[in-house]
Amino acid sequence: MADNNSLLRIYEQMLRIRLFEQKAQELYVQGLVTGSMHIYTGQEAIAATAGELLRETDTITSTHRGHGHCIAKGGKTDKMMAELLGRKTGYCGGKGGSMHMADFTRGNLGANGMVGGGLAISVGAGITNAIIKKNDSVTVCFFGEGATNEGVFHESLNLAAIWKLPVIFLCENNLYQVFTSVAESMPVKDVSIRAISYGIPGITCDGNDVLELYDVLDSAIERARNGQGPTLIEAKTYRWEGHYTGDGYARGGYRSIEEIDLWKAKDPIARMAKYIIESAIADNELLEKIEAGLKDEIEKAVHFAMESPWPDDEDLYKDVFYEKEEV
């Protein structure tokens, strides 16, 4: 069970993610962000709850829809904004962008442009922790339901299961993969049933409900820390926005407006706010103060990014290889 401080922190992180994403979209529309950017709005409860439960020494692997994961793992919004704008002060010196946001200081091993790209990487992190370093760190591997149709999903869960690696496979099932629906791409209703192939626990939960997520994640993380191996968690949720910023078909095209409205009514942030107020964990005033503080932070992040220098020309050729050879 989450204590009140945890819930407040989760609330704040959810809101930080939402406000970050709103701003990122604005910047994209202004032409300041290039390439594909995938907005996390609607799914915030999942990242924020996982982030709250993880230690700084734990690791995550993230996805193309990764801003929320990065923030939840303690990532700084100013360095993130700078990365989106391709500046030298960004997390990756401007070389990664939205789809490659990584923060090794906080255990974020990186977003990934390849669907399912983090799955095998999380297994490797599990090897380091369980077999080589023999510590009790865990790795949360985020991925969408679409990634569960990739072969590497199968190979990763299989290996993690055989070696009982401390990895929590956290599937955010938002019902769509670009324009394609779950029904078209998967012959089973729940992703979690796929855990059976690997003899590991598989759990489906409400991805918009922090309290449920907290308990499900908490026990999966505990299992992993105790050497009992991986868990597959499916958090059902919904992305409010288009697949990528600029996707003109997300409202009324491949998704009905009714469906979108239905899910917006399940907004995880509003739900959490209501719970916080009703349970007297905090009052409206405090929540407003939090929001004001976050808005200020995001504005400053944008300012920081805009004022930041571009990478130097020579940076093009740097970082292809680790240079100091240790021979």
Binding site: T34, C92, G96, G113, M114, T180, Y254, L316
Partner: protein
């Protein structure tokens, strides 16, 4: 002739070939819905129905692998990789299976498989969504490799690809989708292995592929004003490669610059240079130059991306170098 977009040329080629041959089947991620992410399959579902075009799960290996199996059993499999970068998940199917099965069976197997994929940098998509991978496929025998630079070429070559009985990699460039050009109103095809001289000139031969053809043409305009007359050759297909047109041009101009967006090392530039050296060394008045992306992954930051993509300026510089003009 009608002026249409490159993406529409592709769409029209698909639709026309599907009308001609009931055995053409299209599949790939999101191809069925909303006309696909790049609009290249717009209207196909409506006209041909769910038994001729289908969305797949995100499963590159089975998309191409089932492409091979369908092709082996008589279907013309026209499969799409949204971004060529994703084909790296399906290299076993592409290189170990599609490319080799005819040879390994002593010619018994026939593989009419067309893999369409969008490639290239220029839109700030970062290292995993901006690659140009044609050299990998040129290296491995058994695959044809097509890289159209104009709507006319795209349509004519895609129609040829669909009628070919071999695995064909058909690479579309993301930056070209919105470019426009004239396309005949009646059925036509463009044979593989026939380069197109996009501009004739007498001073220097510039061999360029895909988007780089447009850059080379821009460079040629500027060079013309400076009194340099460049011949721009677009091989259009890299396998088979039209050596003859290239060699004839080099014999005429005595100088060659090769421009491609893919990385330099072991790229098609080295190969074409070797061929020129083998067949026309005595006509060369200067060492061949190549203009390529840096030997580094494609950076996200638009500033750096611009630096890595061969620019009009860099092409001009290379031309001047082979002409010993400072």
């Amino acid at each position: 002739m009608t002026v249409i977009k490159y993406s529409q040329a592709i769409r029209d080629a698909i639709a026309e070939e599907m009308r001609i041959d009931q055995n053409v089947f299209v599949m790939g991620q999101d191809v069925e819905t909303m006309g696909g992410v790049f609009g290249c399959t717009k209207g196909i579902l409506e006209e041909f129905g769910h038994d001729r075009i289908r969305n797949t799960p995100i499963s590159e290996a089975v998309i191409i692998g089932a492409g091979v199996g369908g092709a082996l059993t008589g279907t013309r499999m026209l499969v799409e990789m949204q971004y060529v970068d994703f084909i790296l998940h399906a290299m076993d199917q592409t290189i170990n299976q599609a490319a080799k099965v005819r040879y390994m069976t002593g010619g018994k197997a026939t593989v009419p498989l067309i893999i369409r994929a969008q490639q290239g940098s220029g839109r700030g998509n970062g290292a995993q969504h901006s690659q140009n991978l044609e050299a990998l496929f040129c290296h491995m025998p058994g695959l044809k490799v097509v890289m159209p630079s104009t709507p006319y070429d795209a349509k004519g070559l895609l129609k040829t690809a669909v009628r070919d009985n071999n695995p064909v990699l058909f690479f579309e460039h993301k930056v070209l989708y919105n470019t426009k050009g004239e396309v005949p109103d009646t059925d036509y095809t463009i044979p593989f292995g026939k380069a197109d001289i996009k501009r004739s000139g007498k001073d220097v031969t510039v061999i360029a592929t895909s988007w780089m053809v447009l850059k080379a043409l821009e460079a040629a305009e500027i060079l013309e004003k400076q009194g340099i007359d460049a011949e721009i050759i677009d091989p259009r297909t890299l396998v088979p490669l039209d050596k003859e047109t290239i060699i004839n041009s080099v014999k005429k101009t005595g100088r060659a610059v090769i421009v491609h967006e893919a990385h330099e090392v072991c790229g098609i530039g080295a190969e074409i240079a070797f061929i020129i050296m083998e067949l026309a060394i005595d006509w060369l008045d200067a060492p061949i130059k190549r203009v390529t992306s840096a030997q580094a992954p494609i950076p996200y930051s638009s500033k750096l991306e611009k630096l890595t993509i061969p620019s009009v300026d860099r092409i001009i510089d290379a031309v001047k170098e082979v002409m010993y003009i400072k």
